[in-house]
Amino acid sequence: MKLKAIENRIQSTYRPIVEKIANHIDLIDHDIILKPDTRRLPSFIIRFALRTMLVVLFAGLGFFIFRTGPESSVTVLAKSTDIVAFEAVSSTDLLVQTAINQATSMSASGGQVATLSLVPTSAVGDELSTLNYYLNMIEQFLANQSSLNVTLSESELPEYDYKIVYQSTDLSGKPITYALYYNETSVTDSTTFVFNEEDSDNATVWLQGQITIQGTLYLLEGKKIVDGTEEIYSLYSYLDTADYVYVRYETDQADGVKKFFYTVVQNGQTLNKSKIQVDTESNALVTNLEFVEGNAKGKYRVTRGDNGNSQHMDVAYEIQGPTLNENGQIRIDIVTDDVTGDTRYAYTVSPEDGEGDHQYEADRHDSFDEHEDDHEDEHEEDHDGTHPDDHEDEPEDDEAPDVEH
């Protein structure tokens, strides 16, 4: 039997069913659809009521936006691959920095941040060693505007089916390319996760993969977890089960906004927990970082300085502690060593009620462009997803060979 004949049989089986049960749906009984014979109000009354409602709506909306920032992460992270790419790159970047810090025996508040000020340090100065990790990570994303440049393709590595490439530039204009490889499978009763979460039982899709940064391979385990109507994307980037960064993209119960929740674990100890909200504002990416536990605290709103034309970041911060509250601005410039060509971050911290600016310097890791010589395939958005020997009775569908992710 031809496959077309099977398709026809399926069609003829189900379509009468759809017609029959669809006719039973009566939304009028649910007071949603206006009944055809409803006596409508005069249109000018409706228009007046609508205008009034709109005024109230926009007044409320304006308050909401002021309070929370525009909810545009839907645009920035339009696809699940965007979310996975963001999680993989950001968590691995934090993992790399944590591992480097450990390898060089730097203490959490030690040699990474140098105070240059003569004036007393600010409260935020105590947070910079950890904040610096995050700013290094966030810089990888700030050059993006309304969406991330993420492409999904078939993997050239035989052990993996898929490859996601994230491309951008850092604030110096240097290209950044990350490639992560993975397999994805449906979760079954026999699935054994490397890391178990409280709601692992609700995972529907399991992702296993790898990402290589600076020659070091980091392993990835991701899950898509269905919780009611919400789909949660969790991902571990790990060296081993005691050294990892765990991130979940889910709704923050505090304000109902989708955020990335990070947990940085080293030697089995949680170093810090944070949450990051990604937005766009004036066609530029904005990240809101908040530390919630561990060796750092405060809220930080990070933007690319000067409308994206400058090599600096602007941070508005707010720290509330048991004995000290501090708000202010930080400007982070990228400075280059004339001799070595290495770059560092120069922090200028301006507390709102402070006595003056405070200067710091901190490490800036070089951006990673793992595939500088291998870009020719990464813009390839369309490819044939079929198997070469599997075109028998191919469905007549123009879209089938045009695999676009």
Partner: protein, 172 residues
């Protein structure tokens, strides 16, 4: 997948019944094809389809009109079905397939529904979304959040599996 409904959405937001009928007619096969393979029960599918459209109408204000309507509705349908399954699981109510509506029985009748449901869930979903829901492979991939190559493979393998089973039943 249903076409874009840009010009209709504004009217739908005013709860215009005729507009809803148009959209409902255009999308009901897709909504059925998403829900039925997940819940495996026609009566339940009917209820959840209704829930889907109710939720769609109540959520319309939050719909970003720059985006296509079909995938948004598909997502609602999928979430409604998953939500139901979670509640059913929580209450330990096994969702048992029931086939209460009389099936059309042509001369060469083979219980296609039974065969479809003998496929694994992913294949059921892809086959029904494609053939009954008339969705493109790309939209199916988006709805199921799977790579397009996977969807295409699932579809082809499902049809081949069905062909194999039907061939055996025809000969018996």
């Amino acid at each position: 997948m249903p076409k874009r409904f840009d010009d209709l959405i504004a009217r739908l937001a005013d709860h215009d019944n005729e507009t809803f009928e148009i959209i409902h007619t255009e999308t009901k096969k897709m909504v059925f094809a998403i829900i039925y393979p997940l819940v495996g029960d026609i009566n339940l599918t009917e209820d959840l389809m209704q829930d889907t459209y109710i939720k769609m109408l109540r959520s319309l204000e939050s719909f970003d009109r720059r985006r296509p309507f079909g995938p948004w509705l598909a997502q609602i349908a999928k979430n409604i079905a998953y939500d139901h399954l979670r509640h059913a699981k929580r209450e330990q109510q096994a969702v048992e397939a029931a086939w209460h509506i009389q099936m059309p029985k042509p001369d060469t009748y083979i219980d296609i529904d039974r065969l479809i449901r003998s496929l694994d869930k992913d294949k059921q979903a892809v086959v029904l979304m494609r053939i009954v829901g008339e969705m493109s492979f790309k939209d199916i991939a988006s709805t199921l959040d799977r790579p397009l190559g996977t969807i295409y493979s699932l579809y082809k393998n499902a049809l081949k599996e069905l062909r194999h089973i039907i061939g055996k039943e025809d000969n018996s």
